[in-house]
Protein backbone atom coordinates (compact mmCIF):
# COMPACT_ATOMS: atom_id res chain seq x y z
CA UNK A 1 0.00 0.00 0.00
CA UNK A 2 2.95 2.31 0.45
CA UNK A 3 3.98 4.67 -2.25
CA UNK A 4 7.21 4.13 -4.09
CA UNK A 5 9.87 5.95 -2.09
CA UNK A 6 11.52 8.38 -4.43
CA UNK A 7 15.26 8.63 -4.65
CA UNK A 8 16.88 11.93 -3.80
CA UNK A 9 16.77 13.90 -7.05
CA UNK A 10 13.72 13.96 -9.31
CA UNK A 11 14.39 12.83 -12.87
CA UNK A 12 12.43 15.66 -14.41
CA UNK A 13 11.60 19.03 -12.96
CA UNK A 14 9.32 21.43 -14.74
CA UNK A 15 8.81 24.94 -13.47
CA UNK A 16 6.12 27.05 -15.15
CA UNK A 17 6.87 25.55 -18.53
CA UNK A 18 4.91 27.03 -21.41
CA UNK A 19 4.95 26.38 -25.12
CA UNK A 20 3.71 28.62 -27.88
CA UNK A 21 4.14 28.35 -31.63
CA UNK A 22 4.67 31.33 -33.88
CA UNK A 23 1.83 31.60 -36.35
CA UNK A 24 2.54 30.81 -39.99
CA UNK A 25 0.29 31.90 -42.80
CA UNK A 26 -1.59 28.63 -42.56
CA UNK A 27 -2.23 28.79 -38.83
CA UNK A 28 -5.42 28.22 -36.96
CA UNK A 29 -7.33 30.38 -34.49
CA UNK A 30 -6.52 31.08 -30.82
CA UNK A 31 -3.83 33.63 -31.69
CA UNK A 32 -2.28 35.77 -29.03
CA UNK A 33 0.15 38.31 -30.39
CA UNK A 34 0.36 36.13 -33.46
CA UNK A 35 1.35 33.08 -31.37
CA UNK A 36 -0.62 29.98 -30.58
CA UNK A 37 -0.18 28.80 -27.01
CA UNK A 38 -0.18 25.05 -26.54
CA UNK A 39 0.91 24.64 -22.93
CA UNK A 40 0.51 27.12 -20.12
CA UNK A 41 2.83 27.24 -17.08
CA UNK A 42 3.10 23.60 -16.11
CA UNK A 43 4.86 22.81 -12.86
CA UNK A 44 5.51 19.28 -11.72
CA UNK A 45 8.26 16.73 -11.32
CA UNK A 46 8.88 13.08 -12.07
CA UNK A 47 10.66 10.95 -9.53
CA UNK A 48 13.23 8.26 -10.15
CA UNK A 49 11.70 4.85 -10.71
CA UNK A 50 8.10 6.10 -10.83
CA UNK A 51 5.52 5.79 -13.54
CA UNK A 52 3.81 9.10 -14.23
CA UNK A 53 0.88 8.86 -16.57
CA UNK A 54 -0.32 12.01 -18.30
CA UNK A 55 -3.96 12.04 -19.24
CA UNK A 56 -6.12 14.55 -21.07
CA UNK A 57 -8.42 15.12 -24.00
CA UNK A 58 -7.07 15.75 -27.51
CA UNK A 59 -5.63 19.16 -28.09
CA UNK A 60 -4.43 19.65 -24.53
CA UNK A 61 -0.80 19.47 -25.59
CA UNK A 62 0.19 16.11 -24.15
CA UNK A 63 2.43 15.20 -27.06
CA UNK A 64 4.02 18.65 -27.00
CA UNK A 65 4.81 18.17 -23.34
CA UNK A 66 6.50 14.89 -24.07
CA UNK A 67 8.52 16.48 -26.84
CA UNK A 68 9.78 19.09 -24.39
CA UNK A 69 10.86 16.37 -21.99
CA UNK A 70 12.48 14.53 -24.88
CA UNK A 71 14.42 17.58 -25.92
CA UNK A 72 12.86 17.58 -29.38
CA UNK A 73 11.08 20.90 -28.89
CA UNK A 74 12.39 23.70 -26.70
CA UNK A 75 9.91 25.29 -24.35
CA UNK A 76 9.02 28.95 -24.85
CA UNK A 77 8.82 29.82 -21.18
CA UNK A 78 9.80 28.42 -17.83
CA UNK A 79 12.49 25.91 -16.94
CA UNK A 80 12.69 22.24 -17.78
CA UNK A 81 15.39 20.15 -16.14
CA UNK A 82 16.50 16.58 -16.61
CA UNK A 83 18.58 15.26 -13.73
CA UNK A 84 19.19 18.79 -12.57
CA UNK A 85 20.49 20.12 -15.86
CA UNK A 86 18.50 22.25 -18.29
CA UNK A 87 17.17 20.28 -21.25
CA UNK A 88 18.88 21.35 -24.47
CA UNK A 89 18.20 18.65 -27.00
CA UNK A 90 17.77 14.88 -26.89
CA UNK A 91 19.67 13.76 -23.80
CA UNK A 92 21.61 10.67 -22.94
CA UNK A 93 19.50 8.45 -20.74
CA UNK A 94 16.11 9.25 -22.29
CA UNK A 95 14.40 6.84 -24.66
CA UNK A 96 11.24 7.43 -26.68
CA UNK A 97 8.48 5.13 -27.80
CA UNK A 98 6.09 6.53 -30.41
CA UNK A 99 2.51 5.55 -31.17
CA UNK A 100 3.07 4.96 -34.88
CA UNK A 101 5.29 1.89 -34.67
CA UNK A 102 5.13 1.20 -38.36
CA UNK A 103 6.93 4.40 -39.28
CA UNK A 104 9.03 4.49 -36.13
CA UNK A 105 10.76 1.23 -37.03
CA UNK A 106 12.98 0.73 -40.07
CA UNK A 107 11.04 -1.79 -42.10
CA UNK A 108 14.09 -2.85 -44.07
CA UNK A 109 16.10 -3.87 -40.99
CA UNK A 110 15.59 -7.04 -39.00
CA UNK A 111 14.20 -6.81 -35.50
CA UNK A 112 17.65 -7.27 -34.02
CA UNK A 113 19.15 -4.54 -36.15
CA UNK A 114 16.27 -2.23 -35.35
CA UNK A 115 16.91 -2.69 -31.67
CA UNK A 116 20.58 -2.02 -32.28
CA UNK A 117 19.97 1.26 -34.11
CA UNK A 118 20.51 3.47 -31.09
CA UNK A 119 23.57 1.74 -29.70
CA UNK A 120 25.56 0.45 -32.68
CA UNK A 121 27.41 3.72 -33.00
CA UNK A 122 28.31 3.81 -29.33
CA UNK A 123 29.35 0.33 -28.37
CA UNK A 124 31.56 -2.47 -29.65
CA UNK A 125 30.10 -5.40 -31.62
CA UNK A 126 29.93 -7.98 -28.87
CA UNK A 127 28.53 -5.45 -26.42
CA UNK A 128 25.86 -4.41 -28.92
CA UNK A 129 24.84 -8.02 -29.52
CA UNK A 130 24.56 -8.68 -25.82
CA UNK A 131 22.46 -5.60 -25.15
CA UNK A 132 20.18 -6.38 -28.09
CA UNK A 133 19.69 -9.94 -26.84
CA UNK A 134 18.92 -8.70 -23.32
CA UNK A 135 16.42 -6.15 -24.59
CA UNK A 136 14.66 -8.70 -26.78
CA UNK A 137 14.47 -11.08 -23.86
CA UNK A 138 12.92 -8.38 -21.68
CA UNK A 139 10.04 -7.98 -24.13
CA UNK A 140 9.76 -11.64 -25.02
CA UNK A 141 10.91 -11.42 -28.63
CA UNK A 142 14.13 -13.42 -28.44
CA UNK A 143 12.81 -15.81 -31.14
CA UNK A 144 12.03 -13.03 -33.60
CA UNK A 145 15.44 -11.45 -33.85
CA UNK A 146 15.80 -12.20 -37.56
CA UNK A 147 12.27 -11.32 -38.58
CA UNK A 148 11.34 -8.11 -40.33
CA UNK A 149 8.91 -5.68 -38.71
CA UNK A 150 6.41 -6.00 -41.52
CA UNK A 151 6.15 -9.70 -40.76
CA UNK A 152 5.04 -9.03 -37.20
CA UNK A 153 1.73 -8.02 -35.64
CA UNK A 154 1.14 -4.50 -34.32
CA UNK A 155 1.68 -5.54 -30.74
CA UNK A 156 4.95 -7.23 -31.58
CA UNK A 157 6.17 -4.24 -33.55
CA UNK A 158 5.47 -2.02 -30.58
CA UNK A 159 7.46 -4.38 -28.41
CA UNK A 160 10.34 -4.06 -30.85
CA UNK A 161 10.19 -0.32 -30.33
CA UNK A 162 10.21 -0.79 -26.58
CA UNK A 163 13.17 -3.16 -26.89
CA UNK A 164 15.00 -0.55 -28.91
CA UNK A 165 14.36 1.96 -26.15
CA UNK A 166 15.47 -0.48 -23.46
CA UNK A 167 18.69 -1.34 -25.28
CA UNK A 168 19.79 2.20 -24.53
CA UNK A 169 19.64 1.34 -20.79
CA UNK A 170 17.73 4.55 -20.22
CA UNK A 171 16.89 6.05 -16.88
CA UNK A 172 13.54 7.17 -18.27
CA UNK A 173 11.14 5.96 -20.93
CA UNK A 174 8.94 8.55 -22.62
CA UNK A 175 5.96 6.92 -24.25
CA UNK A 176 3.44 8.73 -26.48
CA UNK A 177 0.16 6.79 -26.46
CA UNK A 178 2.11 3.67 -27.38
CA UNK A 179 -0.78 1.24 -27.08
CA UNK A 180 -3.53 3.37 -28.59
CA UNK A 181 -3.43 1.66 -31.98
CA UNK A 182 -3.65 -1.86 -30.59
CA UNK A 183 -6.61 -4.08 -29.80
CA UNK A 184 -7.80 -4.42 -26.22
CA UNK A 185 -6.19 -7.77 -25.46
CA UNK A 186 -2.78 -6.83 -26.85
CA UNK A 187 -3.03 -3.56 -24.99
CA UNK A 188 -3.67 -5.30 -21.69
CA UNK A 189 -0.78 -7.69 -22.18
CA UNK A 190 1.60 -4.87 -23.09
CA UNK A 191 0.51 -2.83 -20.08
CA UNK A 192 1.50 -5.67 -17.79
CA UNK A 193 4.72 -6.13 -19.68
CA UNK A 194 5.56 -2.47 -19.13
CA UNK A 195 4.97 -2.82 -15.40
CA UNK A 196 7.23 -5.84 -15.33
CA UNK A 197 9.94 -4.05 -17.31
CA UNK A 198 9.83 -1.15 -14.89
CA UNK A 199 10.16 -3.64 -12.02
CA UNK A 200 13.20 -5.28 -13.56
CA UNK A 201 15.04 -2.20 -14.78
CA UNK A 202 14.00 0.46 -12.30
CA UNK A 203 13.55 3.00 -15.09
CA UNK A 204 11.15 5.90 -14.71
CA UNK A 205 8.31 6.11 -17.19
CA UNK A 206 6.34 9.09 -18.46
CA UNK A 207 3.34 7.65 -20.24
CA UNK A 208 0.86 9.65 -22.27
CA UNK A 209 -2.62 8.30 -22.84
CA UNK A 210 -6.14 9.46 -23.40
CA UNK A 211 -7.45 6.26 -21.84
CA UNK A 212 -8.37 7.09 -18.25
CA UNK A 213 -8.39 3.50 -17.08
CA UNK A 214 -4.98 2.88 -18.55
CA UNK A 215 -3.67 6.01 -16.83
CA UNK A 216 -4.87 4.85 -13.43
CA UNK A 217 -3.88 1.21 -13.94
CA UNK A 218 -0.30 1.97 -14.92
CA UNK A 219 0.51 5.07 -12.95
CA UNK A 220 2.06 5.67 -9.59
CA UNK A 221 0.75 9.17 -10.16
CA UNK A 222 -1.59 10.59 -12.75
CA UNK A 223 -1.18 14.11 -14.14
CA UNK A 224 -4.23 15.56 -15.84
CA UNK A 225 -4.03 18.22 -18.54
CA UNK A 226 -7.06 20.24 -19.38
CA UNK A 227 -8.04 23.00 -21.74
CA UNK A 228 -6.41 24.57 -24.72
CA UNK A 229 -3.75 25.77 -24.01
CA UNK A 230 -3.18 22.79 -21.73
CA UNK A 231 -2.95 23.49 -18.05
CA UNK A 232 -2.17 21.09 -15.25
CA UNK A 233 -5.58 20.41 -13.76
CA UNK A 234 -4.46 17.89 -11.16
CA UNK A 235 -1.71 15.48 -10.09
CA UNK A 236 -3.21 12.51 -8.29
CA UNK A 237 -1.47 9.82 -6.29
CA UNK A 238 -2.44 6.27 -7.15
CA UNK A 239 -2.34 4.32 -3.86
CA UNK A 240 -3.09 0.95 -5.43
CA UNK A 241 -1.04 -2.10 -4.55
CA UNK A 242 1.75 -3.40 -6.75
CA UNK A 243 1.88 -5.68 -8.61
CA UNK A 244 -1.25 -4.61 -10.45
CA UNK A 245 -3.54 -7.14 -12.04
CA UNK A 246 -5.87 -6.51 -14.96
CA UNK A 247 -9.06 -7.82 -13.40
CA UNK A 248 -8.70 -7.54 -9.64
CA UNK A 249 -7.04 -4.12 -9.56
CA UNK A 250 -9.65 -2.64 -11.85
CA UNK A 251 -12.43 -3.88 -9.56
CA UNK A 252 -11.10 -2.22 -6.43
CA UNK A 253 -13.17 0.68 -5.05
CA UNK A 254 -10.03 2.80 -4.87
CA UNK A 255 -9.49 2.28 -8.60
CA UNK A 256 -13.02 3.29 -9.44
CA UNK A 257 -12.83 6.33 -7.19
CA UNK A 258 -9.61 7.45 -8.82
CA UNK A 259 -11.05 6.89 -12.23
CA UNK A 260 -13.92 9.14 -11.28
CA UNK A 261 -11.57 11.81 -10.00
CA UNK A 262 -9.47 11.76 -13.17
CA UNK A 263 -12.58 11.96 -15.28
CA UNK A 264 -13.73 15.00 -13.39
CA UNK A 265 -10.33 16.62 -13.60
CA UNK A 266 -10.30 16.21 -17.35
CA UNK A 267 -13.52 18.13 -17.51
CA UNK A 268 -16.60 17.71 -19.61
CA UNK A 269 -16.23 18.69 -23.26
CA UNK A 270 -18.59 21.36 -24.52
Amino acid sequence: MTRVVRASMPIFELDKVSLAYAMTSGGRARERDGRREVLHELTFSVGAGEILTICGASGTGKTSLLRILAGLTPQSGGEARFRGAAIAGPSEGIALVFQDYSNALLQWRTVARNVALGIERRAAGADVRRRVADALRLVGLENNADDYPWQLSGGMQQRVQIARALALAPSVLLMDEPFAALDAMTKASLQDELLRVRQETGASVVFITHDIEEAVYLGDRVAVLRGSPGRLAAVLDVPLAQPREQVTTREQPAFLALRHKVHDAIGRRA
Binding site: A70, L72, P90, E92, I94, A95, L96, F98, D100, S102, N103, A104, L106, Q107, W108, R109, L117, G118, R121, P149, W150, G154, Q157, L168
Partner: protein
Amino acid sequence: MRMLAAALAWSRGTLPLLAALALWQALGHVSPQFPPPSTWLAALAGLARAGRLAPAVAETLRILVISLVLSTVAGFALGLVIGMSPRLRQWSEMLLEYVRAIPQPVLIPVFVLLLGYSDLMKVVVIGLACVWPVLLNTIAGVAAIPPLTFEVARSLRLTRSDTLRKIVVPATVPSLLLGLRVALPHAIIITLVMEMFTGAVGLGGLMIAAQRKFNAAEVFGLLVLVGGLGLLLTGLSAAAERLLLARWAPRA
Protein backbone atom coordinates in the same frame (compact mmCIF):
# COMPACT_ATOMS: atom_id res chain seq x y z
CA MET B 1 3.71 -27.67 -63.96
CA ARG B 2 1.50 -24.73 -63.20
CA MET B 3 4.08 -22.35 -64.61
CA LEU B 4 4.14 -24.27 -67.85
CA ALA B 5 0.37 -24.05 -68.15
CA ALA B 6 0.50 -20.33 -67.44
CA ALA B 7 3.22 -19.84 -70.02
CA LEU B 8 1.22 -21.73 -72.62
CA ALA B 9 -1.87 -19.69 -71.88
CA TRP B 10 0.09 -16.49 -72.22
CA SER B 11 1.63 -17.54 -75.49
CA ARG B 12 -1.82 -17.91 -76.99
CA GLY B 13 -1.81 -14.13 -77.08
CA THR B 14 1.08 -14.08 -79.51
CA LEU B 15 -1.21 -15.42 -82.19
CA PRO B 16 -2.04 -12.09 -83.87
CA LEU B 17 1.64 -11.29 -84.12
CA LEU B 18 2.58 -14.68 -85.50
CA ALA B 19 -0.34 -14.62 -87.89
CA ALA B 20 0.75 -11.23 -89.20
CA LEU B 21 4.28 -12.47 -89.69
CA ALA B 22 3.05 -15.58 -91.44
CA LEU B 23 0.90 -13.48 -93.75
CA TRP B 24 3.83 -11.24 -94.50
CA GLN B 25 5.96 -14.25 -95.26
CA ALA B 26 3.39 -15.55 -97.68
CA LEU B 27 2.80 -12.24 -99.49
CA GLY B 28 6.29 -10.86 -99.10
CA HIS B 29 7.47 -11.51 -102.59
CA VAL B 30 4.97 -9.02 -103.91
CA SER B 31 6.88 -5.87 -103.06
CA PRO B 32 10.60 -5.21 -102.74
CA GLN B 33 9.86 -2.76 -99.99
CA PHE B 34 8.35 -5.45 -97.78
CA PRO B 35 10.66 -8.41 -97.92
CA PRO B 36 9.40 -11.52 -96.15
CA PRO B 37 10.61 -12.30 -92.61
CA SER B 38 12.81 -15.13 -93.83
CA THR B 39 15.01 -12.64 -95.64
CA TRP B 40 15.46 -10.68 -92.45
CA LEU B 41 17.18 -13.59 -90.77
CA ALA B 42 19.35 -14.09 -93.81
CA ALA B 43 20.33 -10.42 -93.75
CA LEU B 44 21.24 -10.59 -90.08
CA ALA B 45 23.25 -13.72 -90.66
CA GLY B 46 25.04 -11.89 -93.45
CA LEU B 47 25.94 -9.07 -91.13
CA ALA B 48 27.15 -11.51 -88.54
CA ARG B 49 29.33 -13.31 -91.03
CA ALA B 50 30.83 -10.03 -92.14
CA GLY B 51 31.82 -9.47 -88.54
CA ARG B 52 29.78 -6.30 -88.24
CA LEU B 53 26.94 -7.40 -86.02
CA ALA B 54 28.67 -8.37 -82.81
CA PRO B 55 30.83 -5.23 -82.52
CA ALA B 56 27.77 -3.09 -83.10
CA VAL B 57 25.78 -4.79 -80.37
CA ALA B 58 28.75 -4.64 -78.04
CA GLU B 59 29.29 -0.95 -78.68
CA THR B 60 25.67 -0.05 -78.17
CA LEU B 61 25.49 -2.01 -74.94
CA ARG B 62 28.79 -0.61 -73.72
CA ILE B 63 27.82 3.00 -74.07
CA LEU B 64 24.30 2.32 -72.81
CA VAL B 65 25.39 0.64 -69.61
CA ILE B 66 28.11 3.17 -68.80
CA SER B 67 25.77 6.10 -69.31
CA LEU B 68 22.96 4.48 -67.38
CA VAL B 69 25.14 3.63 -64.40
CA LEU B 70 26.78 7.05 -64.25
CA SER B 71 23.54 8.94 -64.62
CA THR B 72 21.80 6.77 -62.03
CA VAL B 73 24.52 7.37 -59.48
CA ALA B 74 24.53 11.10 -60.22
CA GLY B 75 20.75 11.28 -60.23
CA PHE B 76 20.49 9.43 -56.93
CA ALA B 77 23.11 11.55 -55.20
CA LEU B 78 21.65 14.80 -56.51
CA GLY B 79 18.16 13.60 -55.68
CA LEU B 80 19.18 12.93 -52.09
CA VAL B 81 20.75 16.36 -51.73
CA ILE B 82 17.80 18.20 -53.23
CA GLY B 83 15.27 15.97 -51.50
CA MET B 84 16.68 16.63 -48.04
CA SER B 85 16.54 20.39 -48.44
CA PRO B 86 13.06 21.90 -48.94
CA ARG B 87 14.75 25.16 -49.87
CA LEU B 88 16.80 23.60 -52.65
CA ARG B 89 13.76 21.75 -53.83
CA GLN B 90 11.75 24.91 -54.28
CA TRP B 91 14.53 26.80 -55.99
CA SER B 92 15.25 24.01 -58.46
CA GLU B 93 11.68 22.93 -59.18
CA MET B 94 10.89 25.09 -62.17
CA LEU B 95 14.33 24.81 -63.68
CA LEU B 96 14.27 21.03 -63.55
CA GLU B 97 10.74 20.88 -64.92
CA TYR B 98 11.71 23.03 -67.85
CA VAL B 99 14.93 21.23 -68.72
CA ARG B 100 13.11 17.96 -68.47
CA ALA B 101 10.47 19.17 -70.93
CA ILE B 102 13.06 19.70 -73.66
CA PRO B 103 12.72 16.76 -76.02
CA GLN B 104 15.94 14.93 -75.27
CA PRO B 105 17.05 14.11 -78.81
CA VAL B 106 17.28 17.82 -79.55
CA LEU B 107 20.32 17.96 -77.30
CA ILE B 108 22.29 15.56 -79.47
CA PRO B 109 23.39 18.09 -82.09
CA VAL B 110 24.08 20.56 -79.29
CA PHE B 111 26.52 18.31 -77.55
CA VAL B 112 28.04 17.06 -80.76
CA LEU B 113 28.84 20.68 -81.45
CA LEU B 114 30.11 21.37 -77.95
CA LEU B 115 32.00 18.20 -77.19
CA GLY B 116 32.74 16.78 -80.57
CA TYR B 117 32.31 13.17 -81.42
CA SER B 118 33.58 11.45 -78.32
CA ASP B 119 32.66 9.04 -75.57
CA LEU B 120 32.15 12.00 -73.27
CA MET B 121 29.58 13.45 -75.63
CA LYS B 122 27.74 10.15 -75.80
CA VAL B 123 27.67 9.66 -72.04
CA VAL B 124 26.52 13.23 -71.45
CA VAL B 125 23.75 13.04 -74.02
CA ILE B 126 22.41 9.67 -72.91
CA GLY B 127 22.96 10.46 -69.24
CA LEU B 128 21.10 13.73 -69.51
CA ALA B 129 18.16 12.00 -71.15
CA CYS B 130 17.79 9.24 -68.62
CA VAL B 131 18.72 10.95 -65.36
CA TRP B 132 15.24 12.44 -64.87
CA PRO B 133 13.28 9.42 -63.66
CA VAL B 134 15.94 8.58 -61.09
CA LEU B 135 16.40 12.19 -59.99
CA LEU B 136 12.73 13.03 -59.68
CA ASN B 137 11.79 9.71 -58.12
CA THR B 138 14.55 10.06 -55.56
CA ILE B 139 13.43 13.56 -54.65
CA ALA B 140 9.88 12.30 -54.23
CA GLY B 141 11.14 9.30 -52.28
CA VAL B 142 12.94 11.46 -49.77
CA ALA B 143 9.90 13.68 -49.40
CA ALA B 144 7.82 10.59 -48.71
CA ILE B 145 9.83 9.52 -45.69
CA PRO B 146 7.48 9.96 -42.74
CA PRO B 147 8.64 12.83 -40.52
CA LEU B 148 8.32 10.44 -37.60
CA THR B 149 11.26 8.45 -38.88
CA PHE B 150 13.43 11.56 -38.67
CA GLU B 151 12.13 12.18 -35.15
CA VAL B 152 13.24 8.70 -34.21
CA ALA B 153 16.70 9.49 -35.54
CA ARG B 154 16.83 12.68 -33.52
CA SER B 155 15.59 11.02 -30.36
CA LEU B 156 18.25 8.33 -30.74
CA ARG B 157 20.78 11.12 -31.28
CA LEU B 158 22.02 9.75 -34.60
CA THR B 159 24.58 11.89 -36.36
CA ARG B 160 23.66 13.52 -39.65
CA SER B 161 25.75 11.13 -41.65
CA ASP B 162 24.28 8.18 -39.80
CA THR B 163 20.79 9.46 -40.52
CA LEU B 164 21.65 9.74 -44.19
CA ARG B 165 23.33 6.37 -44.39
CA LYS B 166 21.04 4.29 -42.21
CA ILE B 167 17.68 5.89 -42.84
CA VAL B 168 17.46 8.11 -45.90
CA VAL B 169 19.37 5.90 -48.33
CA PRO B 170 17.62 2.61 -47.52
CA ALA B 171 14.26 4.34 -47.54
CA THR B 172 14.80 5.72 -51.04
CA VAL B 173 16.26 2.64 -52.70
CA PRO B 174 12.81 1.55 -53.94
CA SER B 175 12.42 4.95 -55.62
CA LEU B 176 15.84 4.54 -57.16
CA LEU B 177 14.92 1.15 -58.59
CA LEU B 178 11.64 2.43 -59.97
CA GLY B 179 13.42 5.36 -61.56
CA LEU B 180 16.00 3.05 -63.06
CA ARG B 181 13.32 0.85 -64.56
CA VAL B 182 11.63 3.85 -66.16
CA ALA B 183 14.96 5.28 -67.31
CA LEU B 184 16.08 2.17 -69.17
CA PRO B 185 13.75 2.50 -72.19
CA HIS B 186 14.61 6.19 -72.46
CA ALA B 187 18.29 5.34 -72.40
CA ILE B 188 17.88 2.74 -75.14
CA ILE B 189 15.98 5.13 -77.35
CA ILE B 190 18.37 8.01 -76.99
CA THR B 191 21.37 5.74 -77.55
CA LEU B 192 19.90 4.57 -80.81
CA VAL B 193 18.96 8.08 -81.90
CA MET B 194 22.43 9.28 -81.13
CA GLU B 195 23.95 6.47 -83.14
CA MET B 196 21.58 7.04 -86.03
CA PHE B 197 22.22 10.75 -86.04
CA THR B 198 25.98 10.53 -85.89
CA GLY B 199 26.21 7.39 -88.00
CA ALA B 200 28.34 5.97 -85.25
CA VAL B 201 29.40 2.40 -84.67
CA GLY B 202 26.58 0.56 -83.01
CA LEU B 203 23.16 -0.78 -83.84
CA GLY B 204 21.76 2.62 -84.71
CA GLY B 205 24.59 3.21 -87.11
CA LEU B 206 24.01 -0.16 -88.75
CA MET B 207 20.34 0.62 -89.18
CA ILE B 208 20.94 3.95 -90.85
CA ALA B 209 23.60 2.43 -93.05
CA ALA B 210 21.16 -0.25 -94.13
CA GLN B 211 18.56 2.37 -94.90
CA ARG B 212 20.98 4.31 -97.05
CA LYS B 213 21.76 1.22 -99.03
CA PHE B 214 18.02 0.61 -99.40
CA ASN B 215 18.54 -2.83 -97.93
CA ALA B 216 15.04 -3.43 -96.62
CA ALA B 217 15.72 -6.93 -95.34
CA GLU B 218 18.58 -5.65 -93.22
CA VAL B 219 16.49 -2.77 -91.92
CA PHE B 220 13.67 -5.03 -90.79
CA GLY B 221 16.03 -7.66 -89.47
CA LEU B 222 17.81 -5.09 -87.34
CA LEU B 223 14.43 -3.77 -86.24
CA VAL B 224 13.53 -7.16 -84.84
CA LEU B 225 16.95 -7.53 -83.26
CA VAL B 226 16.65 -4.17 -81.54
CA GLY B 227 13.15 -5.06 -80.42
CA GLY B 228 14.39 -8.31 -78.97
CA LEU B 229 17.20 -6.50 -77.21
CA GLY B 230 14.74 -4.03 -75.73
CA LEU B 231 12.56 -6.88 -74.56
CA LEU B 232 15.50 -8.65 -72.98
CA LEU B 233 16.79 -5.58 -71.18
CA THR B 234 13.41 -4.53 -69.79
CA GLY B 235 12.73 -8.09 -68.71
CA LEU B 236 16.07 -8.31 -66.93
CA SER B 237 15.60 -5.00 -65.17
CA ALA B 238 12.10 -5.93 -64.02
CA ALA B 239 13.37 -9.22 -62.63
CA ALA B 240 16.28 -7.52 -60.89
CA GLU B 241 13.94 -4.97 -59.37
CA ARG B 242 11.64 -7.70 -58.05
CA LEU B 243 14.55 -9.53 -56.48
CA LEU B 244 16.00 -6.46 -54.84
CA LEU B 245 12.66 -5.19 -53.60
CA ALA B 246 11.80 -8.48 -51.94
CA ARG B 247 13.62 -7.19 -48.92
CA TRP B 248 11.71 -3.91 -48.76
CA ALA B 249 8.49 -5.69 -49.61
CA PRO B 250 5.02 -5.48 -48.07
CA ARG B 251 5.10 -2.61 -45.64
CA ALA B 252 2.62 -2.90 -42.82
